[in-house]
């Protein structure tokens, strides 16, 4: 789609630092960068404890950990506004934590507890957090991409049709590189291109769809942006192992999408350090390849950078790690000690209002537990009725 009225986003290194500041390569304050490091450590530690709990059979079903990809979720969320919606696939713990879900609610969900973010009805693959505008966690590969287009449709509709103003939100729809071969993704991109939806499809390209290396399942796998080009999407390739790059490039792209109400695609290069799921022996790749990528560990990258900037030392890091471990240990204890989701939840949340054997709906305890309150009104609490 030729659209000469909308300029391409200029994703480039930021402008030279203004006089008076140091020649730092950090695009944000030291405290913000330290906060990113803490979030990345929190995700890593959380996932390590998930693996332990899974092996102890405290967590059931499928469980996909995010270790190695932490910079993607943390950097992307940092580049967004809190009111910008996010939807993702089943490797979703990292997005939930980065978006602000408590480690307690996230872990309790996997333990199948009433105190979980979805009352133990969703599980590892289906993390939802309305207060933080996280619209799931979705288990079917690629299915979340039309939903992401729909979130963008809705925010644009609210801002422009209902409020008569200008689009002011951007939706992020995460997917893996395995999802780029699903038809739903192409339909979502086509609709986003046609309807000028402010949505960014972030392909977390970790090189494998389960055990299939990308070149075995995907044409033009050296350049996934080409998939978006066919639909008129703006495109950016980002080093997803470097949180600073993720933040810097995503900030430019997010604001471009917001300003112009247009869609984009990101080929986010990254690597998952663990298997596809907990049952994956990783026979399809070499240990040498893994070692190479582990040397690009996004957490170590950031630690080195912060140490070089003089804002992180061993003592500070030790304190941060102790703090993170304590937070995750507390989450595991909380989950373990929480009440299993009671059987009266079985017929709840099938329909909003009660009828027949269905008992209506209620919000999770961390949201206050109000009943029949799921259908929140559009436009920030204003009734849509006219």
């Amino acid at each position: 789609m030729k659209d000469p009225t909308v300029p391409m986003p200029q994703v480039a290194p930021p402008a030279a630092p203004t006089a008076g500041t140091s020649a730092s390569s950090l695009p944000v304050s030291a405290s913000t960068a330290l906060q990113w490091l803490r979030e990345m450590h929190l995700i890593r530690e959380f996932e390590v404890r998930c693996m332990q709990s899974y092996q102890e059979k405290k967590i059931g079903g499928f469980c996909h950990v995010y270790i190695g990809q932490e910079a993607v979720a943390v950097g992307c969320v940092a580049a967004m506004q809190p009111q910008d919606p996010i939807v993702t696939a089943y490797r979703d713990h990292g997005h939930a934590l980065a978006r602000g879900m408590s480690a307690r609610a996230c872990m309790a969900e996997m333990y199948g507890r009433a105190s979980g973010c979805a009352k133990g009805k969703g599980g590892s693959m289906h993390m939802f957090d309305r207060p933080n505008n996280l619209f799931g966690g979705h288990g079917i590969v690629g299915a979340q991409t039309p939903l992401g287009a729909g979130l963008a449709f809705a925010t644009k509709y609210e801002d422009e049709v209902m409020l008569g103003g200008k689009n002011r939100r951007v939706s992020l729809s995460f997917l893996g590189d395995g999802a780029v071969n699903q038809g739903a993704f192409y339909e979502a991109m086509n609709l986003a291109g046609l309807l000028h939806l402010p949505v960014i499809f972030i392909v977390e390209n970790n090189g494998y769809s389960m055990g299939t290396a990308i070149h075995r399942g995907t044409t033009m796998s050296h350049d996934l942006c080409v998939k978006g080009r066919a639909h008129g999407l703006r495109e950016v390739t980002i080093d997803g192992m470097d949180v600073v790059s993720v933040y810097r490039d995503m900030s430019v792209l997010v604001e471009w999408c917001r300003e112009h109400s247009r869609p984009a695609i990101v080929d986010m290069n990254c690597y998952r350090f663990k298997g596809h799921s907990m049952s994956d022996p990783r026979k399809y790749r070499t240990r040498e390849e893994e070692a190479h990528h582990e040397s690009r560990d996004p957490i170590i990258n950031l630690e080195r950078l912060l140490a070089g900037e003089g804002v992180l030392d061993d003592a500070k890091l030790a304190t941060m790690l102790k703090d993170v471990r304590e937070e995750v240990r507390d989450a595991v204890t909380f989950a373990n000690d929480s009440e299993a989701t009671p059987s009266d939840e079985l017929y709840k949340d099938v329909f909003v209002e009660p009828w027949g054997r269905y008992t209506g709906s209620s919000l999770p305890s961390y949201m206050g537990g109000a009943t029949n309150a799921c259908t929140f009104r559009a436009t920030d609490g204003k009734e849509g009725l006219v």
């Binding site: 309305r130 039309p146 809705a154 209902m162 979502a188 609709l191 329909f351 849509g384």
Partner: protein, 345 residues
């Protein structure tokens, strides 16, 4: 809805006073959509050819002119994509009406309409509802061949979390559509291309018909015939023929199959002691088989015979006109079933 369903008044057949005006089924559906779109800006319509073309079957005729392209949205032929997009917008609080040109085409959107819409509330632990209406033509009878002739209620009524509405006449179509749009849960609204030009009395004032509330179309004492959608008309025709043979049929139009108004059916069968279920979907694991099982359970001691069932034949829908008419749950088959159920065969 619970208050409505527990109200015994709503068990009575619904009659609408002052219904002098006659309009087509498609006009009734359009009136409902337009009234709700005037009332609530969150409501919008999308689908193939709904806007500039005025609707493939003219159901949305004139809506683009009234509401504009932002609220009457033409989509590409992309059912999976636009269904998923509409669901995403409903999660955020909009109230989409999605038109499938035919429900047969919804099969390529099976993942969003079955895996997302009906489960979102549950999987999110009550956080995200999905107030959405999917509507379009359902059923055979237009010589469209097998791929375009689905009666999807046979597939979709198996899924918890959806409400399924199958109106048989214009007045019901309007009242049920308005209820569907205001409902907080996903609603599958199944129209029949064969009924779109049918005219009927539709009141001009506002009215809503609650779900789970059957209508008794014809009172009778010998046999209860239960149906929904287009086959209700076959049942009425059969009842006239059977009346001449001395068999007095009671015809119940369920109007919604989820929720299913079992109390009305049970009360009738307890009176007549014979029941025939007429369902245009295939027989195996169908809404008809479910209703028959429910009648057997609740009326075990009242029945003089097993519940007879009339469906479309258990074969792909044929094209040839005579073959297709034979395939449908037609008047002849209904008459035979009623005679058998009442030992008059």
């Amino acid at each position: 809805m619970s208050a409505v369903m527990s109200n015994p008044l709503f068990r009575e057949p619904l009659t609408i006073a002052g219904a002098a005006r006659e309009i087509e089924f498609r006009d009734a559906v359009r009136e409902a959509m337009c009234e709700e779109m005037r009332r609530d800006k969150r409501v919008y319509l999308l689908g193939e050819e709904v806007a500039q073309y005025d609707g493939a079957y003219k159901v949305s005729k004139g809506m683009l002119a009234e509401f504009g392209a932002a609220r009457v949205v033409d989509t590409p032929i992309s059912e999976s994509g636009f269904s998923g997009m509409a669901i995403g917008s409903a999660m955020l609080g909009l109230r989409p009406i999605v038109e499938f040109m035919s429900w047969s085409f919804s099969l390529v959107a099976a993942d969003p309409i079955l895996n997302n819409a009906p489960k979102m509330l549950y999987m999110s632990g009550g956080q995200y509802g999905c107030p959405i209406v999917f509507r379009g033509n359902d059923g055979a009878g237009g010589q469209l061949g097998s791929t375009h002739s689905w009666s999807v209620e046979g597939l979709f009524s198996n899924v918890p979390g959806v409400k399924i509405v199958i109106p048989s006449n214009p007045a019901d179509a309007k009242g049920l559509m308005k209820t569907a749009i205001r409902d907080d849960d996903p609603v599958f609204f199944l129209e029949s291309e064969r009924l779109l030009s049918m005219k009927g009395h539709v009141p001009e004032g506002e009215y809503l018909i609650p779900f789970g509330h059957a209508a008794i179309r014809r009172a009778g004492k010998d046999c209860t015939i239960c149906s929904w959608g287009r086959p209700v008309h076959f049942c009425m025709e059969a009842a006239e023929i059977l009346a001449n043979e001395g068999i007095d049929c009671e015809v119940i139009d369920l109007r919604t199959i989820r929720p299913l108004d079992l109390p009305t059916v049970v009360a009738s069968v307890r009176k007549t002691s014979a029941a025939v279920v007429v369902d245009q979907s295939w027989s195996f694991a169908s809404p008809g088989s479910e209703l028959a099982a429910q009648i057997h359970r609740h009326c075990f001691d009242d029945l003089d015979n097993f519940v007879h069932r009339v469906h479309s034949d258990d074969v792909p829908t044929p094209y040839a006109v005579a073959l297709e008419q034979e395939y449908l749950p037609n008047v002849r088959k209904i008459c035979e079933a009623v005679r058998s159920a009442t030992y008059r065969a």
